[in-house]
């Protein structure tokens, strides 16, 4: 999946992946896709939940060795 921005949050634990993702999305335009890399297992549930709460679109995830790539589309 093609992303407009890639952020590496590996090594970060709750709440930092979500906090940093929110900050990154704020700097992006609507319609753009953010890709984040996280190995925090909490992020696995948090990323889709954050998307649902904020109205942004969760495009999916892809396992990549010992971390996961999450894809989020900014809608607003």
């Amino acid at each position: 999946m093609q992303a407009d921005r890639v952020e590496d949050y590996r090594g970060q634990l709750c709440p930092m992946p979500i906090v940093n993702m929110a900050r990154a999305i704020k700097k992006m335009e609507a319609g753009q896709v953010l890709e984040i890399w996280a190995d925090d297992e909490g992020a696995h549930a948090d990323v889709p939940a954050w998307c649902e709460k904020t109205g942004n679109e969760f495009l999916g995830e892809q396992e990549s060795g010992d971390y996961i790539q999450y894809f989020v589309k900014k809608t607003t």
Partner: protein
């Protein structure tokens, strides 16, 4: 039914574990687009103090010394062992790369979390306005808190 997308957190405890949970939830809520306010009262005031020695009268100064403020001075609610527990928990958290309390507080402020101090408990413990960190948004009494809480989707007592 509240629909203002607000979170209201009362921080009554001055323990590291509980204060940490309070700030973690606050930053999570703020990151999720909610308007967050935190009300620090009684022991919770410790988390928003500069760390200066507080108190005017004898009792005030005694409590100010025994319960000296500052976010790095809060100890775990159990196994503190005079401060060793606090050091050990902080080490465990650092080793696992968990964000520290000072940084978490800064993150909350950066995300626009509002910090309010309970005027009444400040007066009881003889903590002055200058003893609080500059980022405190203001003072509140119970009516102010109730108004905020009644407008909030998420209300918590920590």
């Amino acid at each position: 039914m509240p629909d203002n997308n607000k979170t209201s957190i009362v921080v009554f405890s001055g323990d590291m574990d509980k204060v940490f949970a309070g700030f973690l939830i606050a930053t999570g809520a703020a990151a999720s687009g909610m308007e967050v306010s935190m009300f620090f009262t009684f022991w919770g005031l410790k988390a928003i103090q500069k760390g200066s020695l507080t108190g005017k009268g004898l009792l005030g100064r005694m409590i100010g010394l025994m319960n000296r403020g500052g976010i790095e001075r809060v100890g775990p609610s159990r196994f503190n062992f005079g401060g060793i527990g606090r050091w050990l928990f902080k080490k465990m958290m650092r080793d696992k790369n968990v964000v520290g309390l000072s940084e978490l507080l800064e993150t909350a402020i950066d995300l626009d979390v509002k910090l309010y101090a309970c005027k009444m408990s400040m007066d009881v413990m003889e903590i002055a306005e200058e003893d609080l960190i500059d980022e405190v948004s203001g003072f509140m009494g119970v009516a102010g808190y109730i108004k905020e809480a009644s407008e909030s989707d998420v209300t918590l007592f920590i």
